[in-house]
Symmetry: C2
Subunit: 200 residues, 2 copies
């Protein structure tokens, strides 16, 4: 039971931190959302800051489990259309998985206050995706699906616009549907531009 509450505190902290920021969140409200009084929290964490650090620890573990190992890399698509489809599957997950959305919001909010948040933000928002698609595009070039080019540059040119629209979804959920269809349009435009000639 103890561990359960400890995890639930982290879950609720992620929720409230991602809405109101670390400074804007107070322990009384946080614990009240879990049906506890604030002093109970100190049975599990010795301070508010320890919640924050544990939350970052968990985020790092979660990220590494999900994207850290080479085995978790997605399969290299066999067609250009499959690249679009795979992209849209990934976007759907990342935009609708509440925990992932809250994580992005939290990193946006706290990236200038906490050094580990800063590093995680760069990984989540930029380098992580670029590395993944560098691998994918390299594979697709070897398969003759994409014209020969710098796979890293292409990965960056592909993921950065997608990422910026994902941020838009986070910021303005009402525009999510439109943003997602923009991502699809962009992805199709991308394969039209960079797709190998023999596939046209």
């Amino acid at each position: 039971m103890a561990k359960d509450t400890k995890e639930r505190i982290l879950d609720e902290a992620l929720r409230q931190f991602s809405q109101k920021g670390y400074d804007g969140t107070n322990i009384r409200e946080l614990t009240a959302s879990l049906g506890l009084v604030k002093s109970s929290m100190y049975k599990h964490y010795k301070s508010k800051e320890e919640i924050w650090n544990s939350l970052l620890d968990r985020m790092i573990v979660y990220y590494n489990e999900r994207f850290g190992s080479a085995e978790n890399l997605p399969p290299v698509p066999d067609t250009l259309d499959e690249l679009v489809a795979m992209t849209m599957r990934m976007v759907d997950i990342t935009v609708h998985d509440e925990r992932i959305v809250m994580t992005r919001k939290l990193l946006s909010i706290e990236q200038y206050r906490d050094d580990r948040a800063r590093q995680l933000a760069t990984k989540h928002f930029l380098t992580g995706l670029t590395e993944m698609f560098t691998y994918i595009f390299d594979g697709m070039m070897n398969k003759g699906l994409l014209r020969n080019d710098d796979p890293k540059m292409l990965a960056f040119a592909y993921t950065a616009p997608v990422s910026s629209l994902i941020h838009l979804c986070d910021r303005e959920p009402g525009k999510a549907a439109e943003a997602i269809s923009q991502i699809k349009a962009f992805s199709r435009h991308f394969i039209k531009t960079y797709g190998s000639d023999r596939n046209e």
Copy 2:
């Protein structure tokens, strides 16, 4: 003199809000940085929240003065190299102008807490740049510099990666030089990809 202090309070508020967020900033420190005691602030603003709102007001005015009117649009480049050069000039300004940097940081931090900050964030980070380069690319297509394509799509494909590297500069100033050279590499890659054939 009154108006001077009133402006200086906004300047310092921008500085501290952009580092520590609205909730993380307290009036005592803010006014102390100006050589005042906290109670003096209330001669100029009736509350902390009024500082926040006035700051947003000023940001909106500033943005509209700078990017709002069609007259302020940059001239359409006459060569592809000139597009790269113009981009780098704009990047240099936006990355090194302290006020602009602080404004971006502030919007990143507060975009999920305040509705006007949310709207401004979308404008600053996405739609503003896209609109500007839609105009530029449309002009360049008419001049035969860029191959015929959807100028809006190209503008998005161009500005989003640049924008993501500008965010990187904000987040990790130590990597700014590298990020800026990446922008240049990306810009060159872009004109190689989309430049009209007759210019190669």
